[in-house]
């Protein structure tokens, strides 16, 4: 998944998104939606939904706010660990 950029996708196609069948019930009950669709564009009707977005290993929580519309779900679920130097025990 590449981060959202303009001018990459034709306008007539519209944004790429995945339909979540449980979206309405998730909004009502505030239950998280577990998904692997990192490339799904966040739509205005996703606002307020809690997603658990897969990062390749586990599901990270993403609560959609108004500002996130137009970005993709995967952008909010980091796939890489921050590098930290560890001294080796056996020299």
């Amino acid at each position: 998944m590449r981060p959202t950029t303009t001018l990459l996708r034709s306008a007539w196609k519209g944004p790429f998104f995945v339909a979540f069948p449980s979206l309405q019930s998730a909004l009502r009950d505030n239950t998280p939606i577990f998904t692997k669709a990192r490339a799904c564009t966040i739509l205005p009707n996703h606002i307020g939904v809690r997603f658990m977005v897969h990062n390749g290993r586990d599901y990270l929580p993403v609560t959609v706010t108004e500002e996130m519309v137009g970005h993709k779900l995967g952008e909010f679920s980091a796939t890489r660990k921050r590098f930290s130097y560890r001294q080796t025990k056996n020299k």
């Binding site: 590449r2 981060p3 500002e67 996130m68 970005h71 995967g74 952008e75 909010f76 980091a78 921050r82």
Partner: protein, 165 residues
């Protein structure tokens, strides 16, 4: 010539000299000149006083600038040449208004305004927690470049308070 804190060299064509401004490059400079109706080969030393005023007025606040009047080819009120001929009144046809094309020059941002808006964009990416914002904060390449080679430039420039050079 000094214009808005920038020194435009007299021997240069205006379209080149304008690229001194942060945010104006080789594609925007001729368009600004066309809008202000200045010839594109005009040099800085050849600018007339009203042209300089127009240029500085435009660059200081592009938002409040107005489009130039379209040059009329003929005065509309001109009487027909041959008076004996009767003018045929064509029925008025209602046409849909032309969609107004957004002009980049209408809301052009240069210098500090542009820098401020760029910093705001980065800050926004960081606050909503995107990958791009995180890469900015870490000082690493933002658009998927390898960190082995492109990392050095990124370390220099990519920050939350982005460096401009």
């Amino acid at each position: 010539m000094h214009l808005l804190g920038r020194n435009l060299l007299d021997h240069k064509p205006v379209r080149i000299a304008l690229t001194n401004f942060f945010g104006i490059g080789h594609s925007l400079a001729p368009r600004i000149l066309a809008r202000l109706q200045i010839h594109h080969t005009c040099k800085v030393s050849e600018l007339t006083e009203p042209q300089i005023t127009a240029l500085s007025a435009y660059l200081s606040s592009p938002v409040s600038s107005t489009h130039p009047d379209p040059t009329p080819l003929a005065v509309p009120a001109l009487p027909p040449r041959c008076q004996t001929l009767r003018r045929i009144e064509l029925p008025q046809v209602q046409t849909a208004p032309k969609p107004i094309r957004r002009d980049v020059l209408d809301d052009l941002k240069i210098e500090t305004d542009l820098k401020r808006s760029m910093l705001g964009d980065i800050q926004r990416l960081r606050e909503i927690g995107t990958y791009r914002g995180r890469r900015h904060a870490a000082g690493l390449p933002v658009r998927g470049q390898s960190t082995h080679a492109a990392g050095r430039t990124a370390k220099k420039l990519n920050r939350l308070d982005r460096r401009f050079n």
